[in-house]
């Protein structure tokens, strides 16, 4: 008898490793994945690094267009000086700018109160105003103040809030809502669909009729009723949105469960005496996960669109919080004069939706076993 050399068994490729390799080969999906990651990071971390807070109102900078240069622009300083002086009810003699400081010379018929510097400080353009010169009769005074350099890369909105910070905060909200409501929908849908599919028979019949009836109700009616019930409460509302979107998931999972139940390998496992829990873990869950993951990635953009849609109607996220839908609806109302209010949030929303869709398509190709 000759020795049979035992070659080591080749490393088996799991479903997931296989899918990951296929996904890696899909350029559009990989670019989208990186883009989405990038978007997530800048939306979460970004607002801490932008120079403005998303609620801060700069009265002197309402609706300024986006610019890479610092504000104030040259002629804006002039305006700001005149504005501040007008409020102080004093007469302006003249002003000049020297290395980041302005020197404003004021005069009045009466001696000038020293607290006048507050009027200068109150402007968003200046800070640290102090008296540098004072005439002996106290009727002429020169005040020096630092010019505050402010950057508004995306411009500001009607109230003078920085659009860059608001867009990032809005992204945080939109993405979080997408994920949260998506998870709720998947959880309810999988549970409902799996029970319906595995129970079968009469239970299945009744459970699916309920889904059919819910389907035939106008969807937006349902959502509005939920909004009415839960009020404009942020978290509750999106749990509600998730609770509306589970219907498709339930149908998909039920179909899968029905067909899985009749697969030979499941029957074989049953015949071999594998416990139901074992069958569930070894055969059912891995086979359900594919469609669930695919559907989830396609559900997230749907939720984001739905949230934006509700916000567009004024039912969603409330001020001063913001979401991409809120920003777009404000932008749509301001298009003749302030196009950037529409363009930037639209760009962020649309590219994110594209990325999510490409990832969903990529996952479908990667996870669909029939495609091999």
């Amino acid at each position: 008898m000759t020795d049979v050399s035992l070659t080591p068994a080749t490393q088996g490729r799991s479903l997931w490793a296989d899918a990951w390799n296929r996904l890696k080969a899909n350029k559009a999906a990989m670019v989208s994945l990186w883009y989405l990651l990038f978007m997530g990071v800048i939306c979460i971390v970004g607002p801490w690094f932008t120079p403005h807070d998303f609620t801060t109102i700069y009265q002197d900078y309402t609706r300024v267009p986006p610019s890479l240069e610092a504000y104030p622009k040259a002629n804006a300083i002039d305006l700001a000086v005149k504005d501040a002086v007008k409020r102080s009810r004093l007469d302006l003699v003249g002003w000049q700018e020297r290395d980041g400081k302005v020197f404003i010379t004021l005069t009045s018929a009466k001696p000038i109160d020293e607290r006048v510097t507050r009027y200068i400080d109150r402007s968003d353009v200046f800070e640290g105003a102090q008296i540098s010169e004072k005439s002996t009769d106290g009727m002429t005074m020169t005040i020096s103040a630092d010019v505050q350099k402010k950057y508004f890369f995306f411009g500001t909105d009607n109230n003078g809030r920085d659009l860059l910070t608001r867009t990032l905060i809005a992204g945080r909200v939109s993405l979080a809502i997408g994920l949260l409501a998506g998870l709720v929908a998947v959880f309810i849908g999988v549970l409902y669909g799996a029970i319906s599919g595995f129970a079968g028979g009469r239970t299945d019949e009744v459970m699916m009729r309920i889904v059919d009836v819910l389907y035939s109700l106008p969807f937006i009616f349902f959502v509005i009723m939920l909004v009415v019930f839960f009020g404009r409460n942020f978290v509750l509302m999106f749990l509600a949105v998730g609770a509306v979107l589970w219907l498709d998931m339930a149908r998909i999972v039920r179909g899968q469960a029905l067909s899985l139940k009749r697969q030979e390998y499941v029957q074989a496992a049953e015949a071999l005496g594998v416990s139901p829990g074992g069958i569930l873990l070894r055969h059912v869950v891995p086979n359900l996960l594919g469609p669930v993951v695919i559907y989830m990635t396609l559900l997230v953009p749907q939720v984001i669109i739905l949230e934006s849609f509700l916000s567009f109607l004024g039912l969603g996220v409330q001020e001063p919080m913001s979401s991409w839908g809120v920003l777009i609806s404000q932008g749509a109302k301001n298009i003749p004069s302030a196009t950037w209010l529409l363009i930037f949030p639209s760009f962020f929303l649309t590219t994110t939706l594209f990325a999510l869709n490409f990832i969903g398509d990529g996952l479908r190709d990667a996870l669909d076993p029939k495609d091999r």
Binding site: V213, L217, I220, I224, F309, L313, A332, S346, L349, L353
Partner: protein
């Protein structure tokens, strides 16, 4: 066939009944009422109003009353637009919504269909990729982004079209709303058509037709297209029902006096009759178009028979 249609109409009645019942009670469980205003109405006036509209009666009585009126074709008065009945509001707005939605649907089916066929015939070539790119863009960018962008570029910058308004139905006023309504539908139709056409072109009867030496035109239009139409038809049914009953977004952005706006406004104002009217109209449209889809199935696919 006639018998089948009749039977379908009869089965539609219980469906409609269930929808009406659920919406009626869902609406009433929600807190608030049509005459709860922020300022607070004089309680005597409020009581009078509620008596006139039978809102002071027990819920089950109101429900039976509403059902009775509905069977007699009476949708009731609108609570928040007190000069109009719900039927009048629909008579004014529905033709406008139907015209816009119908045009958008027809154009989407026509151009989406043509694009899908072109993509299928030139599969994996530049024309195909162009169609796929258009379809992806069209189905990804939401309407509430497309509509203001359309206004920005075509109305405000290029000044080709008015920004909004109905203009007594002038053609130029319809371009924007129809295009924005059409684009997402066109994208989906093109994608569906491409998929089913590719499959259809691979089937045996097409190979046979080609082998028999039929012209390209005859093979593609007469034989392949017919087999590829089924998914499009089943998509077009629900899409038609949704489009013809008006879009909230498009009608709001373009200031169109259709019926799409009523739903949200009415639900928020607890205008019970108007909400119920909208629910019933949408349900009827859905049922009718699903029936049309099933009949068209039999027309397109001779294997489908309804006896």
């Amino acid at each position: 066939m006639l018998r089948y249609v009749l039977r379908r109409f009869l089965t539609a009645i219980p469906t409609l009944f269930v929808i009406v019942t659920i919406s009626f009670f869902l609406m009433r469980v929600a807190p608030g009422g049509p005459f709860n205003q922020e300022k607070g109405l004089n309680p005597i006036i409020k009581a009078n109003l509620e008596r006139v509209f039978h809102l002071d009666q027990p819920l089950w009585k109101q429900y039976l009353l509403y059902l009775n009126n509905l069977i007699h074709g009476d949708f009731g008065p609108s609570y928040n637009l007190p000069d109009f009945t719900v039927a009048e509001l629909f008579a004014d707005g529905l033709p406008i919504s139907i015209e816009l939605g119908g045009s958008a649907l027809v154009l989407a089916l026509l151009f989406g269909g043509i694009l899908g066929i072109i993509a299928a015939l030139y599969q994996n070539r530049p024309a195909d990729y162009a169609v796929i790119a258009t379809a992806t863009a069209g189905s990804t960018i939401p309407t509430f982004v497309i509509a203001p962008l359309f206004q920005l570029f075509f109305a405000l910058t290029l000044k080709w079209f008015p920004v909004g308004g109905w203009g007594d139905g002038a053609f130029i006023n319809k371009v924007g709303p129809v295009l924005t309504l059409m684009l997402p539908q066109l994208a989906i139709v093109a994608r569906l058509m491409r998929g089913s056409m590719i499959e259809s072109l691979r089937s045996h009867h097409i190979r046979t037709a080609r082998a028999l030496g039929l012209s390209d035109y005859s093979v593609i239009i007469k034989h392949a297209l017919r087999g590829a139409l089924l998914p499009i038809i089943s998509y077009a049914g629900p899409a038609a029902a949704a489009l013809l009953t008006g879009s909230i977004i498009v009608e709001t952005i373009f200031s169109i006096p259709g019926v799409g706006r009523y739903f949200v406004e009415a639900a928020l104002n607890r205008d019970y009759t108007l909400v119920m009217g909208t629910v019933v109209v949408i349900a009827i449209f859905t049922i009718v178009f699903n029936l049309i889809v099933d009949i068209l199935y039999a027309v397109v696919d001779p294997r489908v028979r309804y006896d």
